[in-house]
Structures are given as structure tokens and as C-alpha cells.
Symmetry: C2
């Protein structure tokens, strides 16, 4: 059995820089027509100059495989002129609360002071992508942040707002209250709960932010995604860290899922008997919400067993060693 | 300022075997008059013969420092004669649900079949110590197990039952419903929550079973302990694993707290303005519940800054690198 996806998109992707970029970009380019590139580099991508250099580096790393990097600027206070100049080259601004995740130290400390820039985004019709967590108790951070989403959605009703990598039942509920709000969901938050991270032996490879939540939360995510909620978009949040940073004392957050995304998603949708909705989740919903017209690209999957590599150079991929029922088929 | 503790006791202690035993036993002997020794060795301590050999090895490892190992037998079906023969040499039986924590594979699989042995314990007045977790979602395992405690407490009203290393507000509440039920509380569950384990960088050194819970749970534990609940006893659950087993992919559960226990507890009780209750928590409650008469031993603390070593041989101790306000004073 074969499955051809037209323009699959990964709407939340960390590609890093230099050697790591060169290592991981081909994984994404092999499976997707494009992806939304996160700007939280060691030095954040918060100027058009840095953004252009980063996009060029990404295209270079894809080594001839067609892949559209949808660039984001790191949220800070921007002038109208800056945003006007950037508008045609970005898909949106990415907002991080300060210190909340990897390389987010220069993020927002005071939400009372973001209104002017957000108003500009609304006016210029530039989407706002948000890492929505407070600094509260780890299992409640997303739920606590929902009031910020609510405030943004109500104060800026024409703003296209994306709740990134949602993980809770309550975030799914919020989605239904505001037409101007969309959300990305990762593969790993559809598959794992906190149990997989700390329930048996500790699994550093599954440690990520937001942390995987409860079975009830995962069920709510799955139901909404598999039922085809039109404002839920696939975004992997694939986030590579070299193994020594994942397994030392105090290790970094991030699941490197890029090599397994479409095969694992196909398996999940097939198991739920709704394989026909996969294309909506990995492409159509995002194209509609963001009004994208990616250059045409097909990705082919074949229903044949495939065992995920234990190691991808210095990285351990999500689902390492597991055998999936689908694999990506390379066609010349 | 000085503080002298009469016969401090650690009512839940993992000393392991061989090199590890030799390494960690002196840490406990330096701070405690005795401790309840857990029987979940690679080959469980489930016969009087193994128990005697293990006690001898422990006394040997204490190297002249007076320390009473209160031995436990690993719970299985026992005959009356076996228990009669063991009674004077054990403080109780330790029950593990099968597979629930380190080296518990031979634990209880079917709680419907433990009644005969538990009835013997009640009849012979031998305490039952229980690792109370189900195999459910990691944050709910203890709460789910409370119905087993409840069943035991009600079915065997004369049995002395100890809920080991409790971590939840609901376990504290249950304590008040049954006079025949006691509980141990660790140092680390009084200090940390899940936030400390997975809220920032991942901290393998703080990964333990039961997993640290929510701020609300920690607050309930603290309140009950610091208010001097008479059936709450200190039990460290200090559980050494060599560093390579703590920090590899899939690392082992256990906090090695033995080197810091009394200084950290003194600080906690002092901060809550109830230092006078420390002796109850670390000695009197256990002596009363278990009716113990340990050989006389004093341990002296002095209020002077002490920085916890970063590394104790192959182990990383709890609170490594932190400066505490109390230290143990060695008197010749």
C-alpha cells in the first residue's frame, strides 16, 4: 500500500546551526515540503539580516532537496517599519516567555508591555506564534498560560494566534472558543505521557518542554487531531541535542523526532482508522490557516516495516529501535 | 549552637551489597543509631539464612561505628513456623508490588492471595512495611494504592502497617483514619517536587520512586511532619546508584541522601521554627510505633556552615554542592 502526501509541512521545527543544522536539515527535507523554523538560536534571530543569513544556511544544508523554510523572527518590541520590511520574508513572530525553555533568556518578561507590538502584528496581519508556558509547577504551566492566550485572542480579535505544541485537554478546549486561534501538536505529545519519561527508568530522550502530560491530556489531543479539528496543525518541535547533552547530569530538553515523523503519524492515523485525514493534519490545515502556497512537492510513504535507527550520528532519534509499519519511499 | 540527638533512626534505608555497602554504610552509621534495612537486593532477602548473612555484612561495613541494622524480610508467602523463627531477628516484612521499583520483580502480583501471610503477621505482631504504588499513571500511583492500605488497615486492625515513603496529601489524610497505620517520610520528598526533577534541566540525581509530587502534596507532608504527627517517622530511602547508572539512557531511580540527612533535616525544622520536634521525627515516633530500645547512642550537630561534597566516591549525594547551616560534629 502506498500513500502520497502533497506538500506535507512541519509547522514547528528546530534546525539549530552549523554542524547540527547540516546533520538534521536533510531529515526534514526528506519528508516535508517546508517547515516553520524556530528562531531561538544561541543568538536569537531577531533581525532581518540574521534571518536572511539563517535561511540561506538552511537552504544550503538541505543540499538540493526542495524545502521551504518558513522563517520566524524572535519576538521583541518591533517598530512598524521593521515589521513592514520583514513581512514578506516571515511567516510570523515567535514569542517565548523569558527563560522558559532552551535559549529563551531574551524572551518576554512582562506581558503588560507587549501590546504595542502585538497590535502591529494584528494590523499587518502577521501571525503570532507562542510558546505558552508560565514558570509555575511543571504539570500546570500550559494550563496557567491559557489566560494569556485568552487575553491575546480577545484583545486582538483579528490576530492570527498559534498556540505552539499544545499538550493539555484545556488548550484543546480553548481552541474552540476563538476562531482566530490555531495550534500545533507534536508527534511525541500524541504518543507519550509523563509515564514514558519518568514512570519506569528515567528516559532523557523523552524529556521535553512542554513536558508530556497525563493520559487524559494525551487522549484529548488525539481525539481532536484524529477527528480533524481544522485549526490543529502538525508541528514536530523536533529539537536535536547531542547525546552527551541529553544524558549528563542536568540534561537538555528536546525530542529529536525528525527522522520518524511521517511514518509514525501514518501509523497513528491508520490505527485510528482515519488515514484519509493525515493530509489535513500535516498540510491542509496549515495551508489554510497561514494561507500558504508552497512549491509543489510530493512525499511518498509505503506500508512496509521499517526499524528506526538506534543512533543518527550523535543523536538518538525518537522511537529508536522500534519497528514502524510505514516508511518513506525515495523516488528518483 | 549545638544539638544532640538521642538514638536517631533512619526507618527506611537501602545499603546494597559488597563494595557499595562498604561505601555507604559508614554514612548512615555516622549519623544514626540504627536503620531499617530494605531487603530488595538483587537476590531478595527472603530467608533467615540470607538475612543473617546480610546483617553480618552490614555490621562489618560499619567498621566499628555502633549501628543497629533493623532487618526486614522480603514479603512472600511464609509459614507460621518461618515467621516464628524469624520474629526476634526482624523488625517486619517489606512488601513490594511486583516490578514497581528497583529489584522488586519477585514482589506481590496478586493482592487477593496475601491474606494468609498478613493474618500471621497480625497474629504474631510483626509489622508490615509496604511500598504502596500501583502500576498506574506515575503521578497517581500512590493515590491509587491507598485502597490497598485501607483494606489492610480494616481487615487486619491489630496489624502494625507502615506506608513507606509517602508523598501525597491523601496518604497523610489516610494516616488519621487508622490508629494501626504509620508512615515514613523521606528528606527529599519534604524538599523537592516534580519541578525539581523535570521542571528545568532534567535532574537524574533527583529521579526516584515514588516520584516527587506537586507543591500541594509536599506542603501536606511538611505540615504533618513539622506539626509532629506521632505516626510519621523519618525514613530516608537513601538509595545509592553509581553515577553511570544514574546518567545513562534509561537511568535508575534513587536519591542518595545518606550523607546529608540530619544537617538538612535540622535546617528544615529550624526554618519552620520547630527544631525541638526534630528528635520526635527522627527517633521517638519510630521507637514508640515499633517499640524499639536501641543501644544508647548520641549524635551531635553543630550550627556551622557545611558545603555538601559534589561527589562521594562514585556517587553524587543529594544537595551536592549546597551549603547547609548545620553539620554533624564528630566527638572522639
Amino acid at each position: 500500500m502506498h500513500l502520497t502526501l502533497e506538500n506535507p509541512l512541519d509547522m514547528h521545527l528546530h534546525l539549530r546551526e552549523r554542524e547540527m543544522l547540516a546533520l538534521v536539515a536533510p531529515c526534514s527535507a526528506a519528508q516535508f515540503a517546508g517547515g516553520v523554523i524556530m528562531p531561538n538560536l544561541v543568538q536569537p534571530v531577531d533581525s532581518l539580516e540574521r534571518l536572511r543569513a539563517y535561511r540561506a544556511a538552511i537552504l544550503d544544508a538541505c543540499a538540493g532537496e526542495p524545502f521551504t523554510p518558513y522563517m520566524t523572527l524572535f519576538f521583541r518590541s518591533y517598530h512598524r517599519e521593521e515589521l513592514l520590511a520583514a513581512r514578506d520574508e516571515i511567516i510570523g513572530l515567535k514569542l517565548y516567555p523569558a527563560g522558559i525553555t532552551t535559549q529563551s533568556e531574551s524572551g518576554v518578561r512582562d506581558f503588560d508591555r507587549i501590546g504595542d507590538t502585538v497590535a502591529l502584528l494584528e494590523d499587518l496581519d502577521i501571525p503570532l506564534l507562542v510558546h505558552g508556558e508560565t514558570d509555575g509547577f511543571v504539570m500546570e504551566r500550559e494550563r496557567e498560560f491559557l489566560r494569556v492566550y485568552q487575553w491575546l485572542a480577545e484583545t486582538f480579535p483579528r490576530l492570527r494566534l498559534v498556540m505552539e505544541h499544545i499538550t493539555t485537554a484545556e488548550a484543546v478546549e480553548l481552541l474552540d472558543r476563538y476562531d482566530n486561534v490555531g495550534a500545533t501538536v507534536t508527534l511525541h505529545h500524541l504518543l507519550i505521557t509523563l509515564d514514558d519519561v519518568v514512570g519506569g527508568l528515567l528516559q532523557p530522550d523523552l524529556f521535553c518542554k512542554p513536558i508530556a502530560k497525563t493520559p487524559r491530556d494525551r487522549e484529548a489531543l488525539r481525539q481532536a487531531v484524529l477527528a480533524g479539528h481544522p485549526r490543529l496543525m502538525f508541528g514536530s518541535d523536533s529539537a536535536p541535542h547531542p547525546r552527551h547533552k541529553k544524558e549528563c547530569c542536568g540534561c537538555a530538553a528536546g525530542v529529536f523526532s525528525a527522522p520518524v515523523l511521517l511514518p509514525a503519524l501514518a501509523q497513528l492515523f491508520e490505527e485510528a482508522d482515519c488515514l484519509e485525514r493525515l493530509a489535513d493534519f500535516v498540510s491542509h490545515h496549515a495551508r489554510r490557516f497561514y494561507r500558504l502556497r508552497p512549491p509543489h512537492k510530493q512525499v511518498h510513504l509505503v506500508r512496509a516495516p521499517w526499524t528506526v535507527m538506534e543512533q543518527y550520528e550523535t543523536l538518538r532519534p525518537f522511537l529508536a529501535g522500534q519497528t514502524l509499519r510505514w516508511r518513506v519511499e525515495k523516488r528518483p
